[in-house]
């Protein structure tokens, strides 16, 4: 089934895009991440221009996170207070990201920067997750419960001035910490077309020290609004949001997300995390490999 994408200016196999959305949807339902980290590189691989891929993947993440937020807010697992602070940072971040995007594009290094960011982020986070889930798996096999990790925020967070109480997260920290985190994730969302869930969740746990029960709900809440801001920012600046591409991706990913959520109930969480870690590391290795080998195209064209 051939579908012409009016913004990307090329025709693609519609079924393939829906399946791609479905695959990332399953992942997002299972692991609570947006799945943008897979969609964007795969779309670029398929021949969609990188900017269009990043801009349209952002709206896919919006769709995938809506149902997640609804479910989590029903079970009161969202800390709206810290979420709003992070959203404010996130919107600031998308603005900064848009500026950075334009600068890097003019310099001609946007694709390389995006690729290097992917390798570093995915490699780092994947490695951390793999180690953690392996430790958890080993200890559950030996029968001993793992020593409970002391929930503490990072010393740098404690040194920030002006503290607020965040009751639902059980925190008394400076709002500057979640604000800065929001800004970082906003920049990454704009550049990489990802929701940033796979960065946010560990950062909220290990840097802010939030209680685990509200982490996933709150990160989805923040991702929802930041991807909305990103889609709007792309629509206004790069004009690269392809609504037909987004529709196809959404069709697959919203159904995939539901399927993934059902699957997640049946599997052991540590095993799930290990599988996600392996996928993330595989993507990172593939991209690192891509940086080093001679690319299929030495030349590329920018319209002036």
């Amino acid at each position: 089934m051939d579908v012409y994408l009016p913004i990307a200016n090329l025709s693609v196999n519609g079924l393939f895009i829906v399946l791609l959305g479905g695959l990332t949807g399953v992942l997002s339902g299972m692991f609570g991440v947006g799945g943008g980290f897979l969609t964007t590189p795969l779309l670029i691989f398929y021949g969609v221009p990188p900017t269009v891929a990043a801009a349209s993947a952002a709206s896919q993440v919006t769709g995938a996170s809506v149902s997640g937020v609804l479910a989590h807010s029903r079970s009161r697992n969202v800390d709206y207070q810290i979420g709003l602070v992070m959203i404010a940072g996130g919107i600031l971040g998308t603005g900064l990201g848009a500026l950075l995007f334009r600068l890097l594009a003019a310099w001609g290094q946007i694709d390389t920067v995006i690729n290097i960011l992917y390798v570093l982020m995915l490699g780092g986070i994947g490695g951390l997750m793999a180690r953690e889930s392996l430790v958890a798996l080993r200890s559950s096999r030996s029968g001993a419960s793992p020593a409970p990790r002391k929930r503490r925020h990072h010393p740098l967070v404690a040194s920030l001035p002006m503290r607020w109480r965040f009751y639902r997260s059980g925190l008394y920290i400076s709002p500057l910490a979640p604000l800065l985190l929001g800004i970082c994730v906003g920049i990454l969302t704009m550049l990489m077309g990802i929701g940033g869930g796979f960065i946010l969740v560990p950062a909220m746990l290990y840097i802010l020290g939030m209680s685990a029960s509200v982490v996933v709900g709150t990160s989805l809440f923040q991702i929802l609004f930041v991807t909305i801001a990103t889609t709007l920012m792309h629509a206004l600046t790069t004009k690269a949001v392809d609504i037909v591409l987004a529709f196809l991706l959404l069709l697959g990913s919203v159904s995939g997300a539901q399927l993934g959520a059902k699957l997640a109930f049946k599997a052991r969480p540590e095993l799930l995390r290990l599988v996600l870690a392996v996928i993330v590391i595989a993507v990172a290795l593939r991209m690192a490999f891509g940086l080093g080998i001679r690319p299929p195209e030495i030349y590329s064209v920018d319209l002036a």
Partner: protein
């Protein structure tokens, strides 16, 4: 009917000995709509003696289809510190977004280098107008890079046997346009060449434009960006919400 009328008009006007070229294009408008996967244009026509009889001599025909020109920056990757980076770049003021040339024999057998350069016959003779001063070797390398890139995207084509001339009168050439063509006005130029000299030429215009839903989306995204963005956001929220609802019921 139209080619015939043009032919008669030309016959009345032409007193010279140069032959008359009557070109036609199968489509003057190409609509890029939903499901567009590219198309094929048929460029055809006739060459006649001024007296209206068969030309009676061998002619070579070259047809060129050229898309709107673009100002572009071409970047070249190089391996630096183990990573492939965009290391060099050059700007061209007028790179055609599409260029296809078809001829009845290889161009180098039809005309000399000078004539080929004047009429821009062949992928290696495109006039790209580089911006600023640039070393000729480097310019040649960049031009070759652009041609190679776009040839593999199907946007630049050269077919040395793409024109068929039958009975020294009729000629026809098929030229394919891929789905990733730029919209705009294309010019189809036909040259009749004999003994290395261009003796007749004619141009026709072909307009490629987006049509229907695709055109609506493209103009909407360009002119009403905020509304378009809000629409995209609304679509994703609605679809996410609906999926959540539907799957609860199942």
């Amino acid at each position: 009917m139209r080619p015939l009328l043009a032919l008669i008009a030309l016959l009345l006007l032409a007193g010279a000995r140069d032959p008359i070229l009557v070109p036609e294009v199968s489509q003057h408008e190409i609509q890029v709509s939903q499901g567009f996967t590219g198309t094929e244009l048929l460029l055809f026509g006739a060459i006649l003696d001024p007296s209206g009889t068969r030309a009676g001599r061998d002619y070579d025909i070259v047809v060129i289809l050229k898309g709107p020109t673009q100002a572009i920056t071409l970047r070249e990757k190089e391996k630096i510190g183990g990573i492939w980076l965009n290391a060099h770049s050059t700007a061209f003021r007028s790179a055609p977004s599409y260029y296809a040339v078809a001829s009845s024999r290889p161009i180098k057998d039809i005309v000399d280098e000078r004539t080929a350069a004047i009429y821009e016959l062949g992928l290696n003779r495109l006039q790209l107008s580089p911006v600023g001063e640039i070393d000729p070797d480097e310019q040649a390398r960049f031009s070759a890079g652009l041609v190679d890139l776009r040839a593999r995207q199907g946007l630049y084509q050269q077919n040395d046997r793409g024109v068929r001339v039958s009975e020294q009168v009729l000629y026809q050439a098929r030229i394919s346009l891929p789905s990733n063509v730029q919209t705009g006005v294309y010019t189809a130029e036909t040259l009749a060449i004999t003994k290395g000299r261009v003796i007749a030429s004619a141009t026709a215009k072909v307009e490629v434009r987006k049509f229907g839903f695709g055109r609506l989306v493209a103009t909407f995204a360009e002119n009403w960006s905020l509304t378009y963005g809000l629409l995209a956001v609304g679509l994703s929220i609605a679809m996410g919400w609906m999926a959540g609802r539907l799957f609860v019921l199942i």
